[in-house]
């Protein structure tokens, strides 16, 4: 009676990629490296250096990660990648950076490297890739515009070619560019053919940020920090050497780039688990008017339990997605499902944190920092449900791609 049930069982055994023990050993090495040398990141989403010394530290840390083979290992070997690299290692590195609260490269920015590898000329690769590895080039994206956010193909920044098609004059405005105020290079999307179908008239450029005609203005956000920038492009002159891929072939560059770091979606689960522990820590140190910690109360425990189920759901959704990504069997809707689940649960956790803080008359000294971080996270969390495709866009993608419903 016992024999016949084995076929459909080992679906999740061995973890992502099924490489079990090797991955664990790799993880231990990464964790030790980060513990020893990692540059701490105090607040979610706060990345811009406040001093020259801090900027040096960030660049050194990124270089150390590349040198150790923890970043860029999946690049072609001739550009510094490692033979026998496993995609699951990239995921492990990102998870451990998050677990260790270490400064981590922005996934949107890492896609610049992937775009150069996939679409760059040999000359561009020679000029750009080693500088990324050396921490010399920090990149930003020049994608979104005041009138083109989630609907990126609506972008209106013009890169007007001269008669010979050799130089381009760029005019327009970009916005929400993270790190633009201290970036060395930008990956720019601009419209080169306004008469073509809107996806077909866009070109990608690699832009040195110190060229004349670029004016970067940081935007102060509701958190009090200035992480995003407006970038005004006025008469910026670019040449053929700045074109990445083909003229009018920019949409392909951006879409393949956006897909390149998709396994990193998995790292977000780690973040939620860590945030949940912060939530419990908060409830332990938040004192209600009767002097007892919030955690001692059943109503708070019930809310925490409900929050924990959401965190666990997201953890499994993400793990499930990553397992499919690693064997290249994912569904187009997997990314949107994971993003929606992660970012909205993140907001729910921060709302509960603020409820606990508001209900407490005092917070023990050892919880003060946690409370402070939660108040920041509460505000910051909405950056995640808006950027990179708003939740509303994700729901629409799920509706169409997974449920087969008509475009709303």
């Amino acid at each position: 009676m016992a024999a016949d049930l084995t076929a459909d069982t080992e679906l999740t055994a061995g973890g992502p990629g099924g490489a079990g023990a090797d991955v664990d050993a790799y993880r231990q090495r990464v964790r030790a490296f980060i513990a020893e040398r990692g540059l701490p990141m105090d607040r979610e989403g706060v990345r811009v250096p406040e001093s020259a010394a801090q900027e040096r530290q960030i660049r050194d840390w990124l270089r150390a990660l590349y040198e150790a083979g923890y970043l860029g290992a999946g690049w072609p070997v001739e550009w510094g990648g490692q033979a026998g690299h496993l995609p699951v290692h990239d995921l492990v590195v990102m998870e451990e950076l998050i677990r260790g609260d270490a400064y981590r490269p922005l996934d949107q920015v890492m896609l610049a490297a992937h775009a150069v590898i996939a679409f760059g000329s040999d000359e561009q690769k020679r000029a750009l890739l080693p500088r990324i590895r050396a921490g010399e080039h920090i990149w930003c994206q020049l994608f979104s515009e005041p009138g083109a956010g989630s609907d990126l193909a609506a972008l209106r920044t013009r890169a007007e070619p001269d008669a010979a098609g050799e130089t381009f004059t760029v005019t327009g405005q970009k916005i929400w560019s993270t790190d633009a105020q201290w970036s060395d290079m930008g990956l720019l999307l601009a419209r080169t053919d306004p008469t073509a179908e809107r996806h077909a008239g866009i070109t990608a450029f690699v832009v040195p940020m110190d060229l004349p005609g670029i004016d970067v203005r940081p935007i102060r956000e509701m958190t009090g920090h200035a992480e995003f920038c407006e970038v005004f492009l006025d008469g910026l002159q670019l040449g053929r050497q700045h074109v990445l891929g083909e003229v009018n072939g920019g949409w392909k560059v951006v879409t393949s780039g956006l897909a390149s770091e998709r396994a990193f979606v998995g790292a977000n689960a780690i973040q939620l688990e860590r945030l949940f522990q912060d939530l419990v820590a908060l409830a332990r140190t938040a004192r209600l008017p009767d002097g007892t910690p919030a955690l001692a109360h059943e109503d708070i425990q019930a809310k925490l339990a409900a929050a924990l189920t959401r965190v666990e759901e997201v953890r499994l959704i993400v793990r499930d997605t990553v397992e499919r990504i690693l064997v290249e069997a994912e569904h187009p809707s997997d990314g949107p499902v994971a993003k929606l689940a992660y970012t909205e649960t993140n907001v729910a956790l921060s709302e509960l944190a603020l409820e606990i803080i508001a209900s407490a008359v005092s917070i023990d000294d050892d919880g003060a920092q946690v409370a402070d971080r939660w108040q920041h996270n509460f505000l910051w969390g909405r950056a995640l449900t808006i950027s990179g495709g708003a939740s509303e866009i994700m729901r629409g993608l799920i509706g169409r791609q997974l449920l087969g419903l008509p475009r709303a």
């Binding site: 009676m1 016992a2 049930l5 069982t9 679906l11 999740t12 055994a13 419990v280 409830a283 955690l295 001692a296 059943e298 425990q301 019930a302 925490l304 339990a305 409900a306 924990l308 189920t309 959401r310 666990e312 759901e313 997201v314 499994l316 959704i317 499930d320 499902v337 929606l340 689940a341 509303e392 994700m394 729901r395 629409g396 799920i398 509706g399 997974l402 449920l403 087969g404 419903l405 008509p406 475009r407 709303a408």
Partner: protein, 308 residues
């Protein structure tokens, strides 16, 4: 019919002609039975079979188990009340010919193998129309005390709770699929209702939530299947059962009730049948005293109740 498919034997050791501890397969089966609104008390049957199989040397337990595996007997599972020795809410009791009842206060299981040894009152349990349920009063002094290993006892309780959650997950998936199909077909103001964001986005949300619930149940089943005996593994399994049960028992009724809204007036009719699933998901939660029971277990297993 269930026995022909081997269904009661998923969590019975191979030495006793079962499949071992295949909680994963049992959970899949429970979801299918839930989706089909099947009338069997599958969760209780599986939990009882597991328990009976771990009462070595008890002739009554062996006999009932043999009957269950052969498809000749139906054994239901329930909890004896603390004060009055009445087992309330015993799923399948009206048609069962054996009962395993847990006295939580004493940590004892009572096996009743003769329907003459109890009275069953199903008058208060008519909400779920797909399965029979009754309050059971055992006759004084009847039945046999079972002494399973503490691990088997704990696992039987976990199995019961988890398979009830799996049952509801099956129903949610079936009704979600049906609602999505309906939303793509039913047209209003010139287009399918699923083409309106107010409908489409809720269906997307429900799809994500249903996936989360299903994955939690699968994960809990996997952890329980691993026969966790080490304290930490057992704690992980318990934690995951509680998480899955809490997620499903609080999420499924709400989700189904919103599917009713999205289906509109046709969903409100008797014949459309969505109500069967709503009634059953509610009953699945109620049979395990959830969501609160799972909530409290989770608080305990997480160490929030220590007072530290």
């Amino acid at each position: 019919m269930l026995a022909e498919l081997g269904l009661p034997a998923f969590c019975v050791p191979e030495a006793l002609d079962g499949f071992g501890l295949r909680v994963d397969v049992a959970a899949s089966a429970a979801a299918e039975l839930g989706a089909a609104l099947h009338a069997s008390p599958f969760a209780g049957l599986t939990a009882s079979a597991h328990l009976l199989a771990h009462c070595a040397g008890n002739p009554q337990a062996e006999q009932v188990l043999a009957g269950v595996l052969a498809g000749e007997r139906v054994c239901a599972f329930g909890y004896l009340g603390a004060g009055d020795q009445v087992a309330r809410l015993v799923d399948g009791a009206p048609d069962a010919d054996a009962l395993v009842l847990l006295n939580r206060a004493r940590g004892e299981f009572l096996l009743l193998e003769d329907p003459a040894d109890w009275t069953a009152d199903s008058r208060r349990h008519g909400f779920d129309l797909t399965r029979g349920c009754a309050d059971v009063t055992p006759a004084a002094g009847r039945g046999h005390l079972l002494r399973p290993s503490p691990e088997a006892a704990r696992r039987a309780v976990d199995l019961y709770e988890l398979l009830l959650a799996a049952d509801a997950v099956g129903g949610v998936r079936r009704m979600l699929d049906r609602t999505i199909t309906y939303a793509g077909q039913r047209r209003t103001f010139g287009k399918p209702i699923g083409g309106y964001q107010a409908v489409q986005h809720r269906l997307a949300e429900h799809t994500v939530r249903a996936r989360g619930m299903a994955l939690l149940v699968t994960e809990a089943a996997r952890l329980l299947s691993a026969e966790p005996t080490a304290a930490d593994a057992a704690r992980q399994a318990r934690r995951c059962v509680a998480t899955a049960s809490l997620s499903v028992s609080s999420g499924a009724p709400h989700l189904l009730h919103d599917l009713l809204q999205l289906t509109g007036a046709i969903g409100f009719t008797w014949e459309y049948g969505l109500h069967y699933y709503e009634r059953r998901a509610h009953q699945d939660a109620r049979l395990a005293a959830n969501p609160r029971h799972a909530q409290r277990s989770l608080a305990e297993v997480e160490g929030w109740t220590d007072g530290s």
